[in-house]
Subunit: 395 residues, 2 copies
């Protein structure tokens, strides 16, 4: 059998597949998993999607091939929504609809990066981005997060020291895995640096609409056209629509479109039409988002409350204001990879910080996902975690 040389070269270091292996182990029914990163399917409005599917299938266009950059009706809807969000006009030809926003990221990396190009990510980083940038053979630099998101002042230092990134990637709202949101002043500063030094910001924003008490700040893209925004209907409507998009300068969109043509020809006219219908049903959408925000907000509160009550000063956790994740650092030296083994014995799972680590080892951290558990389940999960923690400390 022939070898697979190209792949071996590109996928040497793959923490994401380690997470997948873990998720396979922890999918047993007696384990409460805080390890996932999935929306709660019970909160997805299957009836509304079924109606939209039926409506779409009334027309021939819903079953045929569609334009490579997306079904025009959906592009128009997304351009309108992005315009409102960014406070400036974004035209339909500044949108490419992709097969989830992960595809946007993957195509962008191919468009923007040559091997050896410098890419700045966050530490901890979204593993799907790390994988893409590693496949592109980029030289990866990582900046730590604090409560206000990426420490942009350290980026300014890197730039002053002569580092010249091609791309800076940020999950600006309700970070995966870090839970934090990039503060408005840092957004402006990041945009200004992008202008000054000519790099691209990829503002990866799948969670922005899942805010709890107050809307997310204005996007980084508000402040500069050196920003390419990515978003998705996966967390707001349904993952199975596989409808993500990028909003960026039309020359970037044309380049992405050209690559997408050879990557998969085009998206699904059917799921694009379903997405367009539900996003323009503004009454339904408002009520639906209110329901999702309330449910996740409540679960986040329960989880964070239980963590505080149980672990007190032994941990530091992010303030969760939206999204799906809480990031927890142990201040008592607990190694979360060791903790995970004990936790699985106790019937609870999470993802250790090391899975998201770039420069730091993040061995005392963990990511907890609160979306798929009810309040009593989340409380039970934290009790099990506490038992595992106590066992580990006794050794």
């Amino acid at each position: 059998m022939s070898a697979l040389p190209a792949l071996a070269r590109r996928t040497g270091n793959n923490s994401s597949s380690a997470i997948r292996d873990l998720l396979t182990i922890t999918s047993q029914p007696d384990i409460i998993s805080l390890a996932g990163g999935l929306p709660d399917p019970e909160l997805i409005d299957r009836d509304r999607i079924a109606v939209a599917a039926k409506n779409a299938l009334g027309s021939l266009g819903a079953v045929q091939y569609t334009e490579t950059n997306g079904w025009p009706g959906l592009k128009a809807v997304l351009a309108q929504r992005e315009s409102v969000l960014c406070g400036r006009t974004i035209a339909p030809d500044e949108i490419v609809v992709t097969h989830g926003s992960q595809q946007a990221l993957s195509l962008l990396a191919q468009v923007l990066l040559d091997p050896g190009a410098v890419v700045v990510v966050e530490d901890p980083a979204y593993t799907g981005a790390l994988q893409v940038f590693r496949n592109a053979e980029a030289q990866i630099r990582a900046l730590p997060l604090d409560a206000d998101g990426m420490r942009v002042e350290l980026l300014a230092e890197l730039l002053r020291d002569g580092v010249r990134p091609t791309v800076v990637h940020t999950v600006s709202n309700f970070h995966n895995p870090g839970g934090v949101t990039l503060a408005p002043r840092r957004r402006q500063r990041l945009a200004q640096l992008a202008q000054q030094y000519g790099f691209w910001v990829i503002e990866d924003d799948p969670y922005g609409e899942i805010w709890f008490d107050a809307p997310a700040p204005a996007p980084v893209a508000t402040y500069s056209d050196h920003v390419i925004r990515l978003s998705s209907a996966s967390k707001t409507v349904a993952p199975a629509l596989r409808t993500g998009w990028l909003a960026g300068p039309s020359k970037v969109c044309r380049a992405v479109e050209l690559l997408k043509q050879s990557a998969d020809l085009c998206g699904s006219a059917l799921t694009h039409q379903i997405t367009a219908e539900v996003l323009t049903d503004t009454d339904w959408l408002a009520a639906h988002l209110t329901r999702v925000r309330a449910a996740y907000g409540e679960r986040a509160k329960v989880l964070c409350g239980a963590i505080d009550a149980t672990f007190g000063g032994a941990v530091h956790r992010t303030d969760v204001a939206g999204g799906m994740f809480c990031w927890v650092d142990f201040c008592d030296g607990t190694d979360t990879t060791a903790l995970l083994a004990a936790a699985v014995d106790e019937g609870v799972a999470f993802v250790p910080g090391s899975a998201f680590a770039v420069h730091d080892d993040l061995r005392n951290s963990m990511r907890l996902c609160f979306t798929t558990g009810s309040a009593p389940v989340l409380e039970e999960a934290v009790e099990r975690l506490a038992r595992a923690h106590a066992r580990l400390r006794r050794r």
Copy 2:
């Protein structure tokens, strides 16, 4: 603005986008287009798809993320179908469901090819394959087609001369654009060469089920496990499901799965479930395929008959036994790029052979698609072509 260096390097020579530009011009309603490559949407059973969508949306799993290599229920169905086709057991872990078979091709190129690797294609070639192999910076060698498909004896010569391809790509059934089918003896020979020299055959087979009078021959994959088969529900059920797949050795599937994870995480559980339901509704599927075969078969007969009656000895055309295309060579020196300009003036469009050319210029050839026209429309199209041809010859 930053440059887009990576893309510029990869997309220097792009005949496929030339076709797209052409298709844009020829989408005017007064032009009869034989240039497309789309199934007739009127023959897609939207009612059956709507029922399957409704059924799928009865379960939570249809709206959630699914496995990267495909919804397990669909993988099982496809493994069963491929087993029957190839006359040997193909396990579900030898299947990866992709976003159209174009994605399978694109991911395979990344898995199998390093820059400079030799890839053998057909001449004329499927442009989607050419684009993928050029993006992978492969060294492309092309073999001419005759009435029995790829001239495999010329591949044997190349191999004897020391050429060592990593991949040989063939559209084995009802070639796009060439219309021809690889003869059974050549399939065996190709498989034997793959075994002997250790290259991979990519057997790209989106049209195999669209036969007119007799089923397509047994796949190349029947004869060797050095064959990776690609197929799709786009031509049999609906393009908008974006459901393609590859069937190949599990180590190839694992490598493709790993890349797909960073390319787009996973496919749509919804469209996978729809596809699984309609493919296992064997009564419906048999009746549906009979209807599609009869319609396309009739249209092919009408188009070929009109070509013969109108152009006689001035052209040579392929015998069309299935698929969507007829390939026509002018024996009278007609340059089809010049003919196209005249044809558009007369109200008909096609794709000139040069768009599919690799080594040969194929300037006297053209591809005609017969799927989307009724009999009178196809006859009118050939009359217009004849007027354009006559005008050109008078010059």
